[in-house]
């Protein structure tokens, strides 16, 4: 009996050591980023390493705004991310309602088309898509990026999977009460699908905010570039300005991390719908 509790204690000790190691590995790049963003360039690679510099250089966070058009890049990214997330959420949840709760001809074929394209990486058709957009005069426009991101098959799939878990009888009852399909969607389905919507917001927000290849291909004029492209441009140009690069990196992380932390309590529930029933 005694050896059993001893074993258990040892087991728990191992678990906690593993967890501490995990937290360390996961967090160290972020901590290092914060620390370096407050240093002079010459102090960043000094040994022994100082986690907290003696005189923190908050100037880095001020200077970066004048070194590159960071405000413009941020505005562009915020604009694109907000529009794409809204469109994605609206069109996906709207279409998913029909796929899950309404009967019509061609339902299965259309849904199959959506599911099949999830398995086709965007990289497979990015070239013809660009040529097509260019022929429409959409090269180097924000509209192209919005179109690129707003109609994903993934969103429809995720929402539809979630709606499948909501009993049809709920909709039937509402129909008998005289509600139109649009009212059922807005007043019953949407409020019930918070977990799926939150998951979709996180994914769309994160993907659009962090997207690199799309803006790299489409956006050529500097005034239209996004934060990621702008940041990469800055890193290539001033590769030795470590402090500034780290300050800009910290700033670029804040919005995604905020959205994630705000919505994360719904997140596991939302991911499950996509995964397990898929």
């Amino acid at each position: 009996m005694k050896s059993k509790t001893a074993n258990r204690r040892l087991g728990m000790a191992v678990v906690y050591i593993l967890l501490a190691l995990l937290a360390f590995i996961m967090l160290i790049p972020f901590v290092w980023m914060l620390s370096a963003s407050l240093k002079y360039n010459k102090d960043i690679f000094v040994i022994p390493f100082k986690w907290l510099p003696a005189d923190p250089q908050f100037r880095n966070y001020v200077d970066i705004w004048t070194k590159i058009p960071l405000a413009r890049f941020t505005m562009n990214t915020v604009k694109l991310t907000v529009i794409v997330t809204f469109l994605q959420l609206f069109t996906s949840s709207f279409a998913a309602y029909a796929f899950s709760k309404l009967q019509f001809r061609g339902r299965n074929v259309l849904f199959l088309a959506y599911v099949a394209t999830i398995a086709v990486p965007w990289q497979v058709y990015m070239v013809p898509q660009f040529m097509f957009m260019r022929s429409l005069g959409l090269a180097d426009t924000h509209l192209a990026i919005i179109i690129l991101q707003a109609f994903s098959a993934f969103g429809v799939f995720l929402m539809r999977q979630f709606y499948e878990g909501i009993p049809d009888s709920l909709c039937e009852a509402a129909r008998i009460d005289g509600m139109s399909e649009y009212q059922i969607y807005a007043k019953i389905m949407l409020p019930l699908s918070k977990p799926a919507l939150s998951t979709l917001i996180i994914f769309t927000f994160v993907n659009t905010w962090n997207d690199f290849l799309g803006p790299l291909i489409y956006l050529t004029s500097e005034s239209k570039k996004t934060l990621q492209i702008g940041l990469k441009m800055f890193i290539s140009q001033y590769s030795a300005e470590y402090g500034l690069i780290m300050a800009a990196s910290v700033l670029s992380l804040i919005p995604v991390l905020t959205v994630f932390l705000l919505l994360q309590k719904y997140f596991v529930a939302g991911i499950t719908t996509g995964a397990v029933k898929g």
Binding site: L102, V120, V124, M126, V127, F212, V256, A275, V276
Partner: protein, 308 residues
């Protein structure tokens, strides 16, 4: 009399049905129009262009399979194919194993569990440009880099050049990829674990199964659908790799050399630097074919298992 009443009822039913179909189409239209024009259309076009010679300005010319023959004779394409395979071959199992391990660890009733779950997911949502910038500084080829210092002083090993040397560049990319993405797959596994009924574990314990046996005979089989889902998504994502390589191994002009070039970078380069759109699309079709074959194999394996 009753005859006309019947047709009237039938008419009403049909009208209602037609109305419901119209309503349904109105729900789908906003997404489907965008999806059909900008996703389905280009996918079909990709298959057409792969058999054409096209520079984007002059008219297309049908050339049969010659684009495919050309790319397979090109050094950079073959390297990109090889590197993508190596990358996926290592990244998929390592990420899968670590994600499962972490999920089991963070499914225990332990202190700081929620904090750790959040922390593990952080790298996944963090923007790639920012975290690769840090990685490039942590893993700097210089001796003074924090990782090289650790190698020298703690592990007593020689410092490495990491992404700057052809031998270690893929290793660095794989390590980064595992670090960045395992949190996402961990969350999926967590969801899977939470779906396993406690009764199964209790029954196994009553039969005298120890922890290892419970893991082997309850957890693993019960997680089978999750593992199937994770492995497909993970494999597809691995073959799509591009930006990680571009940030970690791309030179200041953005060019990736032979030791790290991957398929999607090759497509990008052929299309938007060399304007050989036919060859770019042919390589894209190869990418699609690989992803398709792997997905089908995984589906086949899953089906066989389910039939047993």
């Amino acid at each position: 009399m009753s005859h006309t009443a019947l047709t009237q009822a039938e008419k009403n039913r049909r009208r209602r049905k037609r109305k419901q179909a119209l309503v349904a189409y109105s729900f789908i239209a906003p997404n489907f129009i965008g999806f059909a024009i900008f996703t389905l259309g280009p996918i079909i076009l990709a298959f057409v262009i792969a058999f054409m010679e096209w520079d984007g300005n002059n008219p297309m010319k049908f050339v049969g399979f010659s684009n495919f023959i050309t790319i397979f004779s090109e050094d950079r394409f073959v390297s990109s194919l090889k590197n993508t395979l190596v990358y996926s071959l290592f990244t998929v199992p390592i990420t899968l194993a670590l994600a499962l391990g972490l999920a089991i660890l963070l499914n225990q009733k332990i202190r700081g569990r929620n904090f750790l779950r959040t922390v593990t997911f952080f790298p996944y949502v963090a923007s790639l440009v920012a975290v690769t910038a840090v990685w490039n500084m942590l893993f700097t080829p210089a001796k003074g880099g924090i990782v090289n210092q650790f190698m020298i002083n703690v592990l007593h090993m020689a410092p490495s050049k990491w992404a700057a040397a052809p031998k270690t560049v893929m290793l660095t990319i794989i390590m980064f990829s595992v670090w960045k993405n395992m949190g996402y797959y961990m969350v999926i596994y967590l969801a899977g674990l939470q779906g396993i009924s406690e009764d199964l574990y209790e029954a196994a314990s009553l039969d005298g199964a120890n922890a290892l046996q419970r893991f082997r005979y309850v957890t693993i089989p019960q997680l089978r659908p999750t593992t199937f889902f994770v492995s497909i998504i993970l494999t597809i994502n691995c073959f799509k790799v591009y930006d990680i390589v571009y940030m970690l191994a791309g030179g200041s002009n953005g060019v990736i050399n032979k030791s790290a070039i991957v398929l999607v970078y090759y497509i990008y380069e052929e299309a938007f630097r060399n304007w050989k759109l036919g060859q770019a699309s042919a390589s894209a079709i190869i990418l699609f074919a690989i992803v398709l074959v792997i997905t089908l194999i995984q589906f086949g394996g899953e089906k066989n298992y389910a039939n047993d």
